[in-house]
Structures are given as structure tokens and as C-alpha cells.
């Protein structure tokens, strides 16, 4: 069951997730074998800064996800602020400006669910630090579709609520520190 080839890796979080993400990226040995898509709850104004920051801290090419773009292995994409990020049947990104979900846009639930429907067992999702419960329901769907579901270990999370919710609700087995998450990505 763990032999699934990962075709898409989603990493999501809210408060405290950026630190964890930077730690994870700093320990990658090579360009990841799958596209990585980042979904963070952030203010729209900070979006350009976020992309610059991620670009500066990792050798992986970073850009904002564009609609109809097909994500490529070895690239890092950031969900645009103020849009939900969805996936079409051909694997491409799709954007949706409809109402917030869990007070959030982008919502992690929306992206996890949509990616689960398209990528099924080829999906891996990772939930990092955060202060609300966005992500758990999307991960439930991803899990049901055979995706790999990983939560940041609450002990290492600046704000443990978000990963804790998913671990508790979904009885997640893969609970990793940022270093272990890097290892996981390095082994893809």
C-alpha cells in the first residue's frame, strides 16, 4: 500500500506553517520527484513576499499556480491568495473565487478534496501547524481515496491544533517532524 507512486504532493497549513515549511524545504537533497503545491492561509498582500522567500530558501523553482497549468515534478507551486485551488481531470490547476470555506480562501479542505478526486492514490497530503480545523475533512476524502496522509507532529508544531484535529479524527499513523517530512519527500 505504501508502494504508491506519488504524482502530486500537497503541503498545507496556517499559523506557524511557514516556519515548518522552510525547515522542510531546507533539508531536501534534490529536486522532488513530484510537483509540490503549497496551500497556506495568508493575507493577499504578502503573497509576492512568500514566493520570493520560498524561492530564496530552496533550489526548487517556485511560482504561483496558474489556472489550466499542469504541475510539473521538481517544481513548487503556491496557491494564489483569495482563490480556492482545485484540480481538473487532466491534473491541471483550476481556480475558484467562490465563498470562503472554514473562513479561508484558499481552503485546505477544498484543495485536498479536489486533488483526491483526481489524483487518488497518486496523492500525498501533508498538514502542518495551524490554529483552525481546515484540512481535516479534505484529508478524510483523500484517505478514503487511498492517498498518503501525513500530519506534522503536534510537539514540533508552533500551533498544534490543525494537525491534532486530523490525527485524532482520522487516526493518522504518519505523524512526522519537519525533518521526517523532508526525508519522506527525499525518498519519493
Amino acid at each position: 500500500m505504501e508502494e504508491n507512486r506519488v504524482n502530486l504532493l500537497l503541503i498545507a497549513g496556517s499559523a506557524g506553517a511557514l516556519d515548518a515549511l522552510l525547515k522542510i524545504l531546507s533539508q531536501l537533497h534534490a529536486l522532488p520527484a513530484a510537483p509540490i503545491v503549497i496551500i497556506l492561509h495568508r493575507k493577499a498582500e504578502n503573497q509576492a513576499l512568500l514566493i520570493d522567500l520560498l524561492g530564496a530558501r530552496s533550489p526548487i523553482p517556485v511560482k504561483e499556480a496558474d489556472e489550466k497549468e499542469i504541475p510539473l515534478a521538481g517544481h513548487l507551486y503556491v496557491a494564489p491568495a483569495d482563490y480556492h485551488l482545485l484540480f481538473e481531470a487532466d491534473g491541471s490547476f483550476s481556480l475558484d473565487a467562490s465563498e470562503k470555506v472554514n473562513y479561508s480562501r484558499p481552503s485546505i479542505d477544498v484543495s485536498f478534496s479536489s486533488a483526491a478526486d483526481v489524483y487518488c492514490q497518486g496523492l500525498a497530503c501533508i498538514l502542518l501547524s495551524g490554529a483552525n480545523n481546515d484540512g481535516t475533512e479534505g484529508m478524510r476524502r483523500a484517505k478514503a481515496k487511498g492517498a498518503i496522509c501525513i500530519a506534522q507532529s503536534p510537539a514540533t508544531a508552533e500551533v498544534p491544533f490543525m494537525p491534532e484535529q486530523a490525527i485524532k479524527e482520522l487516526s493518522l499513523q504518519q505523524v512526522y517532524s519537519p525533518a521526517q517530512i523532508s526525508q519522506f519527500i527525499n525518498q519519493l
Partner: protein
């Protein structure tokens, strides 16, 4: 959320074909991921026991179909969404509009009209409103009713006031509406310059020549082919040297009309039509 609502593309396809045949609304060029999500939402809200039941009910009740259209097309909009976009319009497009004897602006796919009122306010502050007409169209009649009433819940007005200032508004946002019982009603002076009509970008044609067309966060719901068609419709509906403004994540790439325009502000998604 946990209910199985991941309908097969084939099922959705059949429903969309039924809808074209029965009601003349063509959603087949819409992007599937978003459409599916909206249909799933409708399915849950209306508590249908199965997709077949939903399909049957939709084809046999016009009133339900109207609700369906509202649910799958109404998308969140806000006043002065992306304030810097409005600032760019005021600074870079208004000076050109000012030279025209008469200004025609088309808000295509305007939903409940928050952005149309935003525009009317900025035109007013620039002293241009009295010579402007704002054509506000959407395929959803329910959304246009809201626009025509000009009444919106006050919940978001604190944010709107902030957006207004960032957009360069300087007369005091609260001067444009009266607040009562949790709602704000906009000054009728603004509405007098609006021409409101249903228009379906998928099937209806050009109806005037405009100096500025604003269509934001509509094209993201269309597939490439439909995007191209709608962008051609806009190109044909613009006067020479007219302006086209799209949403923050929309562009003319791959559309076939890219060569008819020159970018005015790449960041704020404003293009100028080449004569």
C-alpha cells in the same frame, strides 16, 4: 462534506446536455472541478437522495432550475475587490475616459453588482459619473435583482471602507449609502447611471461598443475554448483603443486575441485594444 458527492464526469455531462436541451443554458464549456463542487453543494443543500433524482427534479421544475442557476453561478464578490486594481483604473484609464464626450462601461458577469457600485463611486469622485453609463450584465436574474435593489448587508462594510481608501477613494465611503437595520442602501444617483440586463456570455452576442469592459473572475470558470470565444466577444465589443480589465489570475494567453491588445498594467490585468 463526507457524503459521497464525487459524481462521475459522465453523469455531470448528461445533466448539462439535458439542461441545454430543456432550458437553453449551456454550461458545457465550464471548468469541471468548480462546476462539480457547486453541483455537489446544491445536491447537499437540497438533500437529494441520488444524482438521478436531482437530474429528474431539475428537468421537471423551472423554479428549482432557477435556484440551481443561482447556486452554481453566484460567486462571492466584494466592493473594490483588489483595491490597487481600482487605483490603476482611476490613475491610468480615467484620464483617457475624461476626454470622451460619453463613457460606456460594460461589467460582464457582474453577479450581485458590488463592483459596479464601486466603479460608479469612483467615477462620481472623478466627476465622470454624469456622462457615464455602466452596463451591468449577468446570466443570473436573481443576482441582478440584488444589484437593482442596491441593498447589501452591512457585515462587510468595514472591509469595503478600507478597500475604498486603498483604491484612492477620498470623499468618505459612508456618504454613498444609508445604513439601516444591518443593511446599506446605495444612493439612487449611482443606480441611475446603470443599465441592467441578463446576458449570457456563452450564447449572447455583442450589444454595444464600449470604452472599458470589466470582467473579473468569470473566465476562470471557463475552459480554454470558451475563454477564447468570450475574449473575442469582448474584443469585438470594444472601441478602438478601448480597455479590457480581467481578474487577478486571468490573462489573454492562449486566447487568439492577445495580438489585438497591448498591456497597460500587467500587474493589475488591464489591456488596451490596438486600434
Amino acid at each position: 462534506m463526507t457524503m459521497e458527492t464525487n459524481f462521475a464526469d459522465e453523469e455531470i455531462g448528461l445533466l448539462l446536455t439535458d439542461i441545454v436541451d430543456r432550458y437553453g443554458y449551456d454550461f458545457t464549456g465550464y471548468t469541471m472541478a468548480s462546476l462539480k463542487r457547486r453541483i455537489a453543494r446544491f445536491f447537499i443543500i437540497k438533500k437529494f437522495p441520488s444524482f438521478a433524482e436531482l437530474r429528474y427534479a431539475l428537468l421537471n421544475a423551472d423554479s428549482l432550475f432557477n435556484e440551481f442557476v443561482e447556486e452554481i453561478t453566484v460567486n462571492a464578490t466584494e466592493m473594490f475587490r483588489d483595491p490597487l486594481f481600482y487605483k490603476a483604473l482611476v490613475n491610468e484609464v480615467f484620464p483617457v475616459l475624461r476626454t470622451k464626450p460619453f463613457i460606456r462601461i460594460w461589467h460582464a458577469g457582474c453577479s450581485t453588482g458590488e463592483e459596479v457600485y464601486s466603479m460608479a463611486i469612483l467615477l462620481d469622485e472623478a466627476g465622470l459619473l454624469s456622462k457615464s453609463l455602466l452596463y451591468a450584465t449577468d446570466l443570473n436574474p436573481g443576482a441582478l435583482e440584488t444589484l437593482q435593489k442596491g441593498i447589501y448587508p452591512l457585515d462587510h462594510f468595514r472591509q469595503y471602507a478600507e478597500n475604498y481608501s486603498q483604491a484612492g477613494g477620498n470623499q468618505g465611503f459612508s456618504n454613498y449609502y444609508t445604513a439601516r437595520y444591518g443593511f446599506a442602501k446605495f444612493d439612487e444617483r449611482l443606480q441611475q447611471r446603470m443599465v441592467v440586463s441578463t446576458h449570457n456570455l456563452v450564447s449572447d452576442s455583442s450589444f454595444n461598443a464600449f470604452q472599458l469592459i470589466i470582467c473579473r473572475n468569470v473566465l476562470i470558470y471557463f475552459d480554454k475554448e470558451l475563454q477564447s470565444r468570450v475574449l473575442s466577444l469582448f474584443t469585438d465589443s470594444l472601441e478602438p483603443l478601448g480597455y479590457l480589465a480581467l481578474g487577478a489570475k486571468e490573462s489573454l494567453r492562449f486566447s487568439g486575441v492577445e495580438n489585438s491588445f497591448t498591456p497597460l498594467s500587467i500587474r493589475e490585468k488591464i489591456w488596451k485594444k490596438i486600434a
